[in-house]
Each structure stands twice: as structure tokens, then as C-alpha cells.
Subunit: 255 residues, 2 copies
DNA sequence: AGTCGCGTTGCATGTACTGCAACGGTCGTT
DNA sequence: AACGACCGTTGCAGTACATGCAACGCGACT
């Protein structure tokens, strides 16, 4: 809505692809060099971009600090962390915590597997939204209209033969998930990786986050992993209760 | 330099302190509500701020993604990680990796101690710049003029009696560090915590990052920790060599 | 030494940002 | 249930401010 700011912010994802010099930035924004310069300078003053010795621009450290503070505001994460650690202690597998925001699902915490074979993922990375167990849990709770609209607009990449094929199938899956109160991803993203997840609910009953346990076939079979379901659900419920306790009753905080 | 962008970006640190509504933001920026609205909308479209259910604004998830991608561009981190893990495996203590950028030093990687008593720190958090071993290493390598100017401008908080007292002492310390090629922090930040660190150098010999091992007194004494120095230096040198190998010879990348 | 490329600066033009005032919805109150 | 207060939102006129141009300075490469 604000042209200047819009242009300035467009520089960030551009630099996320790697360092760039002034000319490149100006060309990509389709503005004059002097314009790009002033925008970059402003970003620089705020620490969002950094100028390296060869004069090219990179994303800056302040982004780190901000992201850090952003996550600090997500109270669920604080509450959940200890529970996730405990779950990891007892089962040994990778544990994830994720939230939904602005048509994206992303991991906000992770406890690494104690097994040598680990799943690749990273806190802050968007989650494959059509297949991940945590994504299903979070989307299943969206208001009907929003859920339907989102499902229609998504891409359905066929990571594996078991990936969700299309919007219709996805919506059916979400209905099931909402009804049963838990979700799985059985090789829908990576052929050999399975996940079981459960929702974390706020005091108003709405899903504020989702957690899952993931393990590769080579460590435990899908059936064995499913035996962890009660444990996962108990953990999620425990987090929900503690979260309800710490959250000011009226505050409808997302995360 | 660009008023509009400047104002828009000022919103981010403001929201980092916690969610805020439109009126608050407008008041803090000292602009009209409608102006604040348009800025917030633009930030929103780019995913940098998120609107929660109570209509208040929070920092958004895209910040995470960007920070994530920013760090992915720091090649030192990629190279260093395995070495840091190995060092942690062998000694068990907390291992940190840090870089200098825009008058700040910050942790970009960390391997947690295997001992129950752990040092508090967080990736992305600014480092106490006048006392931390990694900060000394990074600042010691700055060009004379910049180093001196920075030292004069810093605050010297007395965390403990052994904290660096003033600019003169700090500059002397940096000279020593530069000469000996390693640094310590013996209770200068937290009374009971000691660190030993060594620099990681780029192909041109300049310090691109610094690493350190930290442990509380209750686990090992300062003397014991110092016996790890050769090990730490060997690790830092190994990273330097590998980094020199992977870095295009001409690229003067900061991180 | 000369030329090319890139970042930088000052300035005139006009665009798009600003603040105002009025509207509409929601919540809390009487 | 009706009223009032509050907050977010919209359209608009004026003008501050962002834009692009052209010229300069600097360093690298030939």
C-alpha cells in the first residue's frame, strides 16, 4: 500500500537469495540506482541489511535479533519447551512444535532426535503444508471458509506417492483430523519418514499450535510410531492446560 | 534517509517489545493513525508483522524465515558446525560461534553443554561486547582507527569486579589478544563462568568469526579450562583451513 | 595513461505520502 | 434494548518527500 516501503521491503527476500550489489538491487526493483541506494541506506541504518567489505549488501544481524524477540513473544513456545524435551527424553525421536500464521505453517521449536539418523528440518523454515502432521492439525481448526479458500489456493506437490493429491482429498483429511483430534504423516513428505502429531489448544478451545514426533522407518516402523500416539496426546494436553493457566483469560494471542 | 521507510522500520523494534494496537503504534511514531495504518498494512503484506485475533499487531513469521536465510548465507557457520559439535563431544562444554557486524557481536551458533549446569545465552542475542572472549577476538582484528573509535564509544558495565573497566583497559586487552592469538573471559560477565576462545581466519588472514568454550566454575576451574586452549585453537585453525578451501579466493565475505 | 564500471551527490519535477474529517462497526454501559 | 465511546477504516486535498536525471569521483582493469 505504501510504494516506498513496499519497494524497500522487497529488497529483503531479494537479498535472502544471497549478497547483491547496488546495480543488481536497482535492476530487480526496476528503479533508478539512486533510489535503490536510499532505500538500502535506510535499511542499513536499521541494521536489517549489512554491507560487506566488497560493498555488496547482505541481510543484517538485526533480523536475527528481531526474530529472536518475535519468538520470545510466543508464549506457547515457552510453556511447551520443557514438555517437548521430556517427550524427547522418553522416546528419543525428533519433536517439533509449529504454528500457523498468514497462510504458512512453521516450526518454532525442535528437539533433535537422539538417534544418528535424523530428519532434516529447521526452526523457522516453512513446513510442507499439504502433508505435514502439524500442518493438518493447524489447518483443520481454521474457520470453514478460510480453510476451504486456502485449500483451493495451495499447490499439492507430489513428494511421494502418498502425498496429498489435491484440495478435495486435503479437505477430507482435515475433516478426519479435526474429528479424531490427532494427525499423521505416513511417508507423505519423505518416503521413509513418519510423524504423529497432536494439537495444543488455547483456553477458548482453538488450536494455537501443534506438535509432532517424527522418526524414519529405519529406526521404528509406522506401527511402532503410532503406539506413541497416547503419549504425544498426553503431552499436547499437558501443554494446553499449562498454557491456559499462564494465558490472561481474555488475551486471544495466536501463539 | 527515506522518511517513510524509516518510520515503517521503526515499528519493528517497537513491536518486538510486545503486541500493540494501531493507536499505540501511531502514538509512538508520532504520526496520524491513518499513516500508521498504511505502514502496518505494508509490513503486513510482506509478512513482517502479523495481526492477531484481537486485531493487535505482532512481529510476523517472515522475520524468522529471513533470519533463517540470512544465517544460511554465512558460510563460516556451515563449515564450522561439525567442528564445534566434535569439540563439544570431546570436552562436553558449551561451544559458541560468533561474528562481528555493525558494532555488535552476536552468536550465530551454539552447541549446548552436556553438563546439567548450563550457561545462559541464545543464538541471535547480542554478546556482552566488552568482556566476552569472542568479542575480544573479533574486535582485536578491526582496523586501528575503527577499533579505537568503537572502544571509546562503548559502555563498560561492571557485571563483576573482573569486568573490563574502561576503554583504555579494553584497548590494552585487545592488543594482548591480537598478539597471542587467543582470548579468555575469566568471570568478567558472570562471576562463576569462564571462557577460552580462538579466532577463525579467512584466506586473507582477517578474522571472520570467533569461537569459544565456556564452563562454570562448579564444573571445571579456570585452570582446568585453560588446558583446553590447544584443543580450541586446533579446532579454530581447522575451521579456518576448511573455510579457506570453500571460499572463492576473491570473495571478501564477512561471515 | 586512458577508459570503463560502479557508487555517490544535488537538484528539479511530480508523485504518492500525510493528516484531516467523517463513517461504521464493536463493545461496554445505563 | 438503546445509547455512547472507542477504534479501525476510508476518501480526499495539499504538499512534503521520494523519484529519476545528469554529472562527479573513485578504483580497477587494459
Amino acid at each position: 500500500m505504501s510504494q516506498t516501503v513496499d519497494r524497500a521491503l522487497s529488497i529483503l527476500p531479494l537479498l535472502a537469495r544471497g549478497p547483491a550489489d547496488l546495480g543488481t538491487v536497482a535492476a530487480e526493483l526496476d528503479v533508478h540506482k539512486s533510489t535503490a541506494l536510499r532505500l538500502l541506506r535506510t535499511l542499513h541504518e536499521h541494521g536489517l541489511v549489512h554491507r560487506q567489505r566488497d560493498q555488496r549488501y547482505r541481510l543484517g544481524a538485526r533480523l536475527f535479533t528481531l526474530a529472536q524477540e518475535a519468538v520470545a513473544n510466543l508464549d506457547v513456545r515457552e510453556v511447551a519447551h520443557a514438555h517437548l524435551m521430556a517427550l524427547n527424553e522418553s522416546c528419543g525421536h525428533t519433536v517439533h512444535l509449529a504454528v500457523y500464521e498468514e497462510r504458512e505453517v512453521l516450526y518454532i521449536d525442535k528437539v533433535e532426535s537422539r538417534y544418528p539418523v535424523r530428519m532434516y528440518s529447521r526452526v523457522g523454515k516453512p513446513v510442507p503444508i499439504t502433508v505435514a502432521a502439524v500442518a493438518k492439525l493447524l489447518l483443520a481448526d481454521l474457520p470453514e471458509a478460510e480453510r476451504r479458500a486456502l485449500a483451493e489456493r495451495l499447490d499439492y506437490p507430489q513428494y511421494t506417492p502418498r502425498s496429498t493429491p489435491d484440495a478435495a482429498a486435503f479437505l477430507r483429511e482435515l475433516a478426519t483430523v479435526r474429528e479424531q483430534g490427532w494427525a499423521t504423516d505416513l511417508g507423505g513428505h519423505e518416503e521413509s519418514i513418519n510423524c504423529v502429531g497432536a494439537p495444543i489448544k488455547g483456553p477458548d478451545g482453538r488450536v494455537v499450535a501443534a506438535m509432532s514426533v517424527s522418526a524414519p522407518n529405519v529406526v521404528v516402523s509406522a506401527e511402532e510410531l503410532l503406539t506413541l500416539l497416547p503419549h504425544v496426546r498426553r503431552t499436547a494436553d499437558a501443554i494446553s492446560r499449562e498454557y491456559a493457566g499462564t494465558t490472561p483469560p481474555k488475551e486471544a494471542a495466536t501463539g
